[in-house]
């Protein structure tokens, strides 16, 4: 039974002498390859040139701060629960008097680690977070020599201070500035 009209019968007649010299077909093939010499190269010269990601690209995680530069995270653990790859570990601590300029609420994450080798960059942590404290940025994890280097600590994840390091903060926020 014929399913589509696209089927083409295969020519199985034996080769003639001229065909069996392969010359004509080789010349045709060489025409195809030489045409690729003048085509645009598909390569992106990586360190100098970077591929532009879409706005919804899910890259490395960023721990957010509010507009005063205080950490949003309250170490509730919802992201760790939501994580299907179990890549997130955290330890909570209580905010002491005098630390109000560092942490937004009275509980904060003393330790916050994401194992980037486990992470599948699904973005469920971002969706689970009630405090808008974690989101996925448009960068990706750079190469490293050991597994340890892929366990990102809180210092690696925290976004730069919006008041003290404005340039770096703007760069880290990137295209998502409007979403805050």
């Amino acid at each position: 039974m014929q399913l589509t009209n696209r089927a083409k019968p295969v020519d199985r007649s034996p080769m003639t002498f001229l065909e069996s010299l392969y010359l004509w077909n080789i010349i045709k093939g060489m025409g195809i390859t030489i045409s690729h010499l003048f085509k645009r190269k598909a390569t992106i010269q990586y360190p100098e040139e970077k591929r532009t990601f879409s706005k919804v690209f899910r890259g490395l995680h960023v721990l957010n701060r509010d507009s005063d530069g205080r950490e949003n995270c309250t170490a509730c653990g919802l992201c760790a629960v939501a994580c299907p790859a179990e890549a997130i570990t955290m330890e909570a601590a209580e905010r002491q008097p005098g630390e109000e300029h560092l942490y937004r609420e009275e509980k904060y994450a003393a330790r916050y680690e994401i194992n980037m080798l486990r992470c599948i960059f699904c973005g469920l942590c971002e969706e689970a977070c009630p405090k808008d404290a974690i989101y996925l940025s448009q960068t990706f994890a750079p190469a490293n020599y050991g597994r340890k280097g892929f366990i990102y600590k809180k210092e690696d994840l925290l976004i730069p201070h919006p008041l003290k390091e404005m340039e770096a903060y703007k760069k880290a926020v990137g295209d998502r500035a409007g979403n805050q």
Binding site: S20, L23, I26, M30, T33, I34, H36, K41
Partner: protein
């Protein structure tokens, strides 16, 4: 005593020429490896190596340096002497063939003429054929001494392939020799400069010669001796470090030399097409330099075609290789020879 009476200047002149040609062969072979990777990249919509120096021009040096510093492994089960002899033989035969090629118009000086050719022997082109057929021993000895079944199969393939394709190559060449009446390379070039290039009279002969040259250089589509995916790199599988480098390098030198031979036999050698260079009134050394440049340009075109073919055509199957050689090319070459002989007799 008359052996000692050889002019010392003559020896010096030839020694300089030999060093220049060997240096040139190495240089061209080095940059052919880069060209190969570049052209492969371009034909596959990539850039090719471009990190070592501007446009990757230091890439061959980096590759060579890497090969020098690699650990040298000689398998315990191998025959040590033969194992070392293999790459040496491949390299020597690749270099020796360059001795009879005229690299440019002779330089005429006040004290005499200096031919840009190491040895203008009477049996010039036959010497090339002789040395090329010795070249197969490099592959065979290497493959045999490795004591590895893949290497052995590759060596056998290489030997049979080279023997099979030397026949049509020689037959195609005979038709050329009909026209020149001489085996001397310098006379072959001179007769082309006078009567037009041989490729005009012998297009079929040239195509046969070119196909056989591909097979002799173990280039795709005839790279069965080093079929990566079935024989695991074939005859040089057990080789490491610079011995592997010698094999690979010898292959590129072979490519360069066979391009030079094809340019000399069919495309007028160092002859500059469409002009009468003698009427320019240039200095003789300048003229020699230009003619050398013209030969190099012809060789570069051939090298590009070699590379272009490699990145276009897949490898032949062994039975296809044999049937192409024995059943197609030899009859065609014989026909070509007989027809050119008949035409030449008729024109007389």
């Amino acid at each position: 005593m008359h052996l000692l009476a050889i002019d010392l200047w003559f020896i010096l002149e030839k020694a300089i020429l030999v060093f220049c040609i060997i240096g040139l062969s190495f240089f061209i072979a080095m940059y052919t490896t880069l060209a190969e990777r570049k052209v492969a990249g371009w034909l596959q919509d990539r850039h090719g190596p471009n990190r070592a120096g501007p446009f990757g021009i230091f890439q061959p040096l980096a590759d060579g340096g890497k090969l020098f510093f690699k650990e040298e492994i000689i398998p315990l089960a191998s025959n040590r002497i033969l194992f070392l002899l293999g790459p040496a033989l491949a390299m020597i035969t690749a270099l020796v063939t360059s001795s009879v090629i005229p690299w440019g118009a002779p330089v005429v000086t006040a004290s005499g003429t200096i031919p840009l050719q190491v040895a203008d022997v009477d049996m010039g082109i036959l010497l090339v054929f002789g040395v090329v057929s010795v070249g197969v021993y490099g592959i065979m000895i290497g493959g045999w001494a490795s004591n590895n079944k893949f290497s052995l199969i590759a060596a056998i393939r290489g030997a049979s392939q080279m023997v099979s394709y030397e026949l049509p190559m020689g037959l195609a060449l005979i038709a050329v020799l009909f026209m020149t009446g001489s085996l001397k390379m310098s006379e072959i070039v001179a007769s082309q400069a006078a009567n037009g290039w041989h490729v005009i009279y012998q297009p079929l002969g040239f195509i046969i010669f070119f196909i056989c040259a591909l097979a002799e250089c173990n280039r795709t589509p005839f790279d069965l001796p080093e079929a990566e995916n079935e024989l695991n790199f074939g005859y040089h599988q057990e080789y490491s470090s610079m011995k592997l480098g010698f094999y690979l390098f010898a292959e590129y030198i072979n490519m360069f030399i066979s391009s030079a031979i094809m340019a000399t036999l069919y495309f007028g050698g160092y002859d500059i097409p469409f002009v009468n260079e003698a009427s320019w009134g240039l200095q003789p050394w300048l003229l020699s330099l230009i003619s050398f440049g013209v030969l190099m340009a012809k060789i570069a075109v051939f090298l590009f075609v070699f590379i272009w073919i490699r990145w276009t055509i897949p490898r032949f199957r062994y039975d296809q290789l044999m049937s192409l050689g024995w059943k197609k090319l030899i009859p065609l070459a014989l026909l070509n020879m007989i027809i050119s002989a008949a035409v030449m007799l008729w024109l007389k």
